[in-house]
Subunit: 246 residues, 2 copies
Amino acid sequence: MTQLLDQNTTAQCPHNKRVSCSNCRLSSLCLPISLELNELDQIDEVILRNQPLHKGDYLYRIGDPFTSVYAVRAGCVKSVHNSEEGEEQITGFYLPGEILGMDGLTDDYHANFAIALETSSICEIPFQKLEILSHKIPSLQRHFFQLMSREITKDQKLISLLSKGSAEQRIAALLLSLSARHQKRQLSGTEFNLPMSRTDIGNYLGLTIETVSRVFGRLQKENIISTDRRLVTLLNIDQLRTIATS
Amino acid sequence: MTQLLDQNTTAQCPHNKRVSCSNCRLSSLCLPISLELNELDQIDEVILRNQPLHKGDYLYRIGDPFTSVYAVRAGCVKSVHNSEEGEEQITGFYLPGEILGMDGLTDDYHANFAIALETSSICEIPFQKLEILSHKIPSLQRHFFQLMSREITKDQKLISLLSKGSAEQRIAALLLSLSARHQKRQLSGTEFNLPMSRTDIGNYLGLTIETVSRVFGRLQKENIISTDRRLVTLLNIDQLRTIATS
DNA sequence: CGATTGTTTGAGGCCAGTCAAAGTTAGTGG
DNA sequence: CCACTAACTTTGACTGGCCTCAAACAATCG
């Protein structure tokens, strides 16, 4: 419960002011910095702010027509790819300020599921309107090219991790990634709630839940982290980095 | 040697005509279909066709300023990501008609190495000029969004493969992917040369060369494939599919 | 031809998966 | 508020697939 309150106070604006990009603390993460004020307003106008999703709700499904990309304003969303064998593979966790849904451009249908891991507020950005705006605002076109490029390099890091890393390395890398992304939002980089279950972590990192649990246990025994349910505290972040990059 | 000749005859135009997009057999793969003739000429004008790369040559390196994306006209190029630990991870093989280099958009510097696996002809597409053209030709902007989106879904398939697949599944999936991509170029989908070494295959699929070799041996013993050095023949493509998706 | 690089094959060990069961938490409705 | 259930997590014993180490073999190139 406190978890949800934390998320909300982080992302929503005080005094119930109308939510807009210009007063959103996350805009520095999801929009280019170099926008003029009137450009910001133009973008603001096309963005839809729908009802919040609840845990387990789908933002979109495989096969849904691609119409929009989505920015997480609060909460957390996972992206789930379905292999030809029908097995599910989580390919990313999206935290506030991060943008997802760009998989759908390949052939105008989403290639992934997107599922809320907790109560989440989402900004919907209709892609056609974004494309048109991109013609008028060059820095916006560049920004979206960059977003997609970042998605590619993020996936490549995961590929490298899955290809070469031990169970310890994978989990250390995930914790460090979450830590860094929290810090970008001016939140604690050493103490945070995991929005995802052990099952999700295992699926994402290519490990079984038993292995995930054992690694958490070992890291705890060595006083590198401490965990209380989904609350994680990084006690020795340097050693965690050593593990991740050894 | 025959290998190289094959590649050249495939990609270059007969009678030494000047190479241009309008007479390139691969343009249907790397450009949007809906271009007007004068639009095609505009694109053609910005594309640079440099000297061919030889085996082992770098197309770009990590840290190089990002200026262009590249289309493979003949040969094969691998993309190599460098993990924080300094370990190399191949994240893709690019065949004729395929485009690489879009990792560099993240922060204007390339995040990967690109290395020719054999003698390769490359079309260089300066990105700034492409961006400007994209403002004038909407279908081109959309096309490049799609290319990047495809790169993302390609990486996600690899993530799923590395996360869940056995050694057999990984190799079967790679062979099927190469087969499908050959067929797109009107080449045999059942008999082709592997442009990459066993070491490269192992690195790409997160396996050791010994395991790669053993799997090839097993598949051969079961008459699913036959290999003669780098020449692979898919004898039973259905069974290969069964293996890949089981 | 020798040197180098790449590939195959074998023996043994280890890490993570599998199977099984107990323990814990969250959610539900009485 | 508590009892009950379902879902999630932890722990243990065992197994197996892939890695490691090692050596022989094959191909390529100067």
